[in-house]
């Protein structure tokens, strides 16, 4: 039951003297059995923004960030943009895989999905990943850029190499562990005040701050056997519980601070 939808929708080109941008769009109709589903997408170069809404259609729009068309060609000829963006999608049950070939150009994607959806996103370069109003399991890997989650119900597994991570949860999935790691950048996670979780945090070159009442547990000794030597050291994580404790949230950054914030009720 694999449906391959190839780009054929609308080609929007706005011809204006000052700005000339090329964007492509794709519309995916979902059957009721496909919601909630999983959307998987990797953008080789550029940003990804996903917004949840009340509908049963996935709307994808990819826009070239920079365009060559502004560079005038010689001899009074106008440059005609060739198809720089190639978007296609495979729908297998409730697994939707978006594929994008951009021949090295930076393309920013704006995607609208039904609110109840899980996401598996990756940006390899040059862009932020932004997710808003989603209920589901979220997985993001970003090499160069920030990750921002807003008004989420569910769980998150996020990693960024160079970039900040910010995740604001309206609700959390009570049985799911989470993992937020960044090499270079602050990590801020905002959680409802009533949740139960166990935090395992570490920042090599930064601080850990929170307005939750987290009582760190006493550091456990760790014993390792290396040939005929026994090495004793102390657990190098900061471990503490929010309320009654629960699934483990691992939050780790190398160069940056960790902020664990309590969600303010409006």
């Amino acid at each position: 039951m694999i449906k391959k939808l190839f780009i054929a929708a609308s080609l929007l080109t706005v011809l204006l003297p000052a700005t000339y941008c090329q964007s492509e769009q794709l519309v995916i109709n979902l059957s009721p059995g496909s919601i909630p589903g999983l959307l998987t997408f990797e953008n080789p170069k550029g940003s990804i923004r996903v917004t949840g809404y009340d509908g049963d259609v996935i709307l994808i729009s990819g826009t070239l960030r920079y365009s060559d068309a502004e560079i005038p060609a010689s001899n009074g000829m106008r440059r005609i943009e060739q198809n720089a963006i190639d978007i296609s999608a495979e729908v297998k049950g409730n697994n939707i895989i978006l594929l994008c070939k951009t021949t090295g150009k930076t393309v920013d994607f704006d995607i609208k999905t039904p609110r109840n959806f899980s996401l598996k996103l990756r940006s390899l370069d040059n862009g932020d990943v932004e997710i808003i109003n989603i209920n589901g399991e979220i997985e993001v890997e970003n090499a160069n850029g920030d990750i921002s989650l807003e008004n989420i119900a569910g769980s998150a597994v996020l990693s960024s190499v160079h970039g900040k991570i910010s995740a604001v949860f309206r609700e959390v999935n009570t049985a799911s562990p989470m993992m937020l790691t960044s090499f270079e950048g602050d990590i801020t996670i905002t959680l409802p005040g009533s949740i139960n979780a166990r935090l395992k945090m570490k920042s090599e070159n930064g601080e850990i701050l929170s307005d939750f009442d987290i009582k760190p547990v006493k550091r456990q000794p760790v014993v390792r056997n290396v040939e005929d030597t026994r090495i004793y050291s102390l657990e190098d994580w900061v471990i503490g519980s929010i309320n009654a404790g629960g699934p483990e949230y691992i939050i780790r950054t190398y160069n940056g601070n960790v902020y664990i914030r309590k969600k303010q009720s409006l």
């Binding site: 562990p177 090499f183 056997n225």
Partner: protein, 276 residues
């Protein structure tokens, strides 16, 4: 010509087998049955043989199975409720439907089943050590439960969802000793998982078993397979902590890559200095 004959003969054999199954299914009319039996006789299966095969087949059909007890339904529906509760995203208005069967069972059995389900659920929810004395609980469990848990882990580790794979790796950390199958899958995760966070977690889990030779070998070999700075860095830290000299050539190889992350380079240089 010879091969064609073989093929013909095989196909004929195939057809006869098909006919045989139609025969025992009782799909054929008396005339058709007789024809099939004659064909089978021609191919060397006697009428008596066919008769006895049919009767044995019917005996298998007649093997009586009793009804299962009420407990089976009750266990299932209790588990269903638990799973549903776990997957709810905390919406306050959702009412969990109780199947009418649940109320019919004696309370004693309910408690026993509940405890069994709780243990299984405890494993599956990946709560690593949130209860005090978590490891002590592990030691009291029977081999069967440990076996079930291992099978569970090995399957969960192949799931599409990173959360499931994280749960699987967390479950492994609850074992005091991991057998080679588990260690192999952890190393597989460390080297091949699509998600860097999951790789990082597998690394932490493996460090716990660093006294096992296979683990140390696996960690050394893993150095050249990592591209995420966080994993690379952590691996270097681990090698320093373990004084694993075999890692030295691996780090030297990595340091020749000009695109290596600056901080990772620093740590690997440190490793080289320490391990020399």
């Amino acid at each position: 010509m010879l091969i064609q004959n073989w093929k013909k003969r095989d196909m004929k054999r195939q057809d006869l087998k098909e006919k045989f199954f139609e025969l025992i299914r009782g799909d054929l009319s008396p005339e058709e049955e007789e024809k099939v039996i004659k064909d089978l006789e021609k191919s060397g299966i006697s009428r008596d043989e066919i008769k006895s095969l049919r009767s044995v087949d019917q005996l298998i059909e007649g093997m009586a199975t009793p009804e299962p007890s009420d407990r089976m339904d009750k266990r299932f529906y209790t588990m269903l409720e638990d799973e549903k509760k776990k997957s709810l995203l905390g919406e306050p208005d959702v009412k969990v439907k109780r199947h009418f069967m649940v109320n019919l069972v004696r309370p004693g059995l309910r408690i026993a089943a509940g405890i069994a389900l709780f243990l299984l659920g405890w494993f599956a929810s990946g709560w690593s050590g949130s209860a005090p004395g978590g490891n002590k609980q592990m030691a009291n469990l029977t081999d069967e439960v440990i076996q079930l848990k291992e099978t569970l882990i090995l399957t969960m580790i192949q799931q599409n969802s990173s959360v499931e794979r994280i749960k699987a790796v967390n479950m492994v950390s609850e074992f005091d000793n991991a057998d080679s199958q588990i260690i192999e899958s952890l190393i597989g995760v460390l080297n091949h998982d699509s998600n860097d966070n999951v790789r990082l977690l597998a690394l932490e889990a493996l460090v716990k078993y660093s006294s096992v030779p296979e683990v140390r070998e696996g960690l050394v070999k893993s150095i050249s397979m990592q591209t995420s700075p966080m994993v690379q860095l952590r691996l270097a830290e681990v090698m320093i902590a373990l004084s694993e000299k075999r890692a030295l050539p691996e780090f030297e190889k990595m340091l020749q890559d000009a695109s290596l992350n600056y901080s990772v380079r620093g740590k690997m240089n440190e490793a080289v200095a320490v391990l020399l």
